[in-house]
Symmetry: C2
Subunit: 395 residues, 2 copies
């Protein structure tokens, strides 16, 4: 008696759960320390001290009914103001609290955007490889996902195909940079060209096309690479952010959406997002988390740990004869599989106690995602297994 749409989601879910169960099964047989689980995106670096302290501070400073009471559906004004100031300082922008809506994480941010803008059969363009949960967020509001095939050389978006696939039904384009699963940062050149195409197409079809930038990994960047701040290039941009990765708080569900004033009809859209936040059941982002964030807007976790992991993993894999684009941010590495069938490769990897996610789970077969948000010790211990796996395919 569950709805057809949901029954489909339940059926699809079995793959992920199987992997999870398989991990637990292997741990029972070989011991937890001998199973190399690279399948999850759960941050491994500890929460910054300042954030931990902020919990104690807000608990001591505020009386219980205001600390834990309902907040505005858009979030606490002072917190939104503090966030806007931090962003302005770092990205040379000009936002105020009016431009910011606090959300229960980026997943919720994307949901309230799609709930606000999508009409039945509107199309949303995504670039493979991409986080497949987007399919649910989009179809949940009767939108259609249009996938642009990957440019496997650089993993920058394929803009030729993009240009061709924009049509009168295109309502939005969803990007994720630094990217899950490739770790690639979309370059300024990419963003400029993409914006130019969108400007042209808005004119051609005479309606707004939104660029939605999902950027929970914005602060997880290596080698001083810069992540272009998208609102500078295109007016109809939504920024969707989460503190899940930058502060290692994924379980707390705290993030925000930015709607720039220069977006068409921005006030009405801010209202719509605020109301969507209420009626999808989030109501407001968790209040204690809002107060904590308000005290820690400039903090990030110790990124050097992820960088160290990236260097160890990337260098080792190349050494073993694997190939991959070098991750510039996030904590994922997207490795080419030596055989075309990535699921088969993952099965084989499991024989070496390596748990990897097939690229086909991101709309890009022939690859695997390796999440290196793990203990460095475990990563080092796992290298032998990667070496053996490589040797197996060299035979």
């Amino acid at each position: 008696m569950i709805s057809k749409k949901l029954q489909k989601a339940v059926d699809n879910n079995s793959t992920i759960r199987e992997m999870f169960e398989e991990g637990k099964r292997l741990e029972k047989i070989y011991g937890k320390e001998n199973v190399f689980n690279f399948s999850l995106g759960n941050p491994s670096v500890e929460v910054p001290k300042k954030v931990e302290d902020a919990f104690f501070e807000v608990l001591k400073e505020k009386d219980s009914t205001s600390l834990h009471g309902y907040t505005n559906n858009a979030g606490i004004e002072e917190v939104r103001s503090a966030i806007s100031k931090s962003i302005n300082k770092r990205f040379n922008t000009n936002f105020t609290e009016e431009n910011i809506i606090m959300t229960t994480g980026a997943a919720s941010g994307l949901n309230i955007i799609f709930k606000s803008i999508l009409e039945k059969n509107n199309e949303v363009i995504v670039f493979a490889p991409y986080f497949m949960e987007y399919n649910y967020y989009i179809s949940g509001y009767d939108g259609k996902v249009v996938v642009i095939s990957p440019n496997t050389k650089t993993f920058q978006p394929n803009l030729e195909e993009f240009k061709k696939k924009i049509n009168s039904k295109t309502k939005a384009v969803l990007i994720n940079t630094p990217n899950n699963p490739t770790g690639v940062i979309y370059s300024e050149k990419t963003i400029k060209e993409m914006s130019k195409i969108l400007e042209e197409k808005q004119k051609e079809f005479n309606h707004d096309i939104y660029l939605i930038s999902d950027e929970p990994y914005r602060e997880l960047v290596y080698d001083n690479k810069e992540v272009p701040f998208i609102t500078k290039y295109y007016n109809n941009t939504f920024i969707v952010y989460s503190y899940s990765k930058s502060l290692s708080l994924p379980g707390e569900r705290i993030g925000y959406v930015i709607v720039p004033t220069k977006m068409n009809d921005s006030k009405n859209i801010i209202n719509a997002l605020t109301i969507s936040n209420r009626i999808i059941g989030a109501v407001n982002a968790p209040s204690i988390m809002q107060y904590v964030i308000g005290k820690c807007t400039d903090e990030t976790v110790d990124i050097s740990i992820y960088k160290k992991n990236r260097d160890i993993l990337y260098n080792a894999l190349l050494d073993y004869g694997f190939t991959s684009v070098k991750p510039e941010g996030a904590f994922y590495l997207f490795m080419k599989t030596p055989i075309a069938d990535d699921k088969e490769f993952c099965k084989k990897a499991k024989e070496y106690n390596l748990l990897l996610v097939p690229g086909s789970s991101f709309g890009c077969s022939g690859y695997v995602r390796i999440s290196y948000c793990v203990e460095t010790k475990m990563l080092q211990k796992s290298l032998k297994a990667f070496k053996s796996l490589s040797d197996f395919y060299k035979k």
Copy 2:
């Protein structure tokens, strides 16, 4: 460029916002202490000491990456187990962690249920007066709201009309007891008769009809009144709970849904709710809140304060010549307006600095909702204004 559905919600929203703005305007003119705001449902009684302590305990006991990490989409197993044990003890039930899904409050609980069960044009029955946000939760998943007119004598559900309005499209019935806005508890007799009707109609139409019990006020009950625990009367029952009122934590968004094992196809439905929790963007209920609740499953706020408020308000209003059913739970009083036009009455009340919500906002005109989750001092101070308001209509 926002969707038609959302544009409607934005337009509807103006009334609530106007009231909010009006409150702020009056406070500026007369001073905060001279404006009697009875329009909100924000708990006024402080968070129990044990709950406040639990925040400090979990922050000290757990390492940061596990305290703030992703949890299962259904929630932390030990927390769900602790909750099930507390419920079993108090209501003589037989649940385990398998029956419980942690949610970001009751609003989210209702959303994941409707997302899981509703097909386009399925009908959901509600009983006026009712919390109008239900309309959004139901229509958000393409369901239709069918309203049963109020029984204004007792404010128990009108079961005659209910029976007639169940048809082949009826998918669910949504009740809220103790009730917002009346404070009435649906009696055991009501629940038994309702269940009997539903059993008959399930047979007649040969499909499951769900009874959804939204009960954030379950613990806010006066004079030792009992709230029937619905799963005992009807197998296809969802219990939707929130700690917003019972622990004064509305901003933290923490609650749960119970799916009894004896519900048809319960395992599949539990899966569907768990996946819905993920894909509506909640992902998991805030993790620190789950751990806190796990330590406080038997706690409630000091209900005697709300009872005191109820007694003062109810007795005074009756004394002034107003009429109302006596609230048995929650923190609302639903008063008959001396004129038929409840909006006009609210306008007049505002002249006495009394902010009330018209009953028509709950599908029941000719009444107003008075939220007495306020400081007792303020309530006492406001009585003069209620008296003057009454006198005005006696002239």
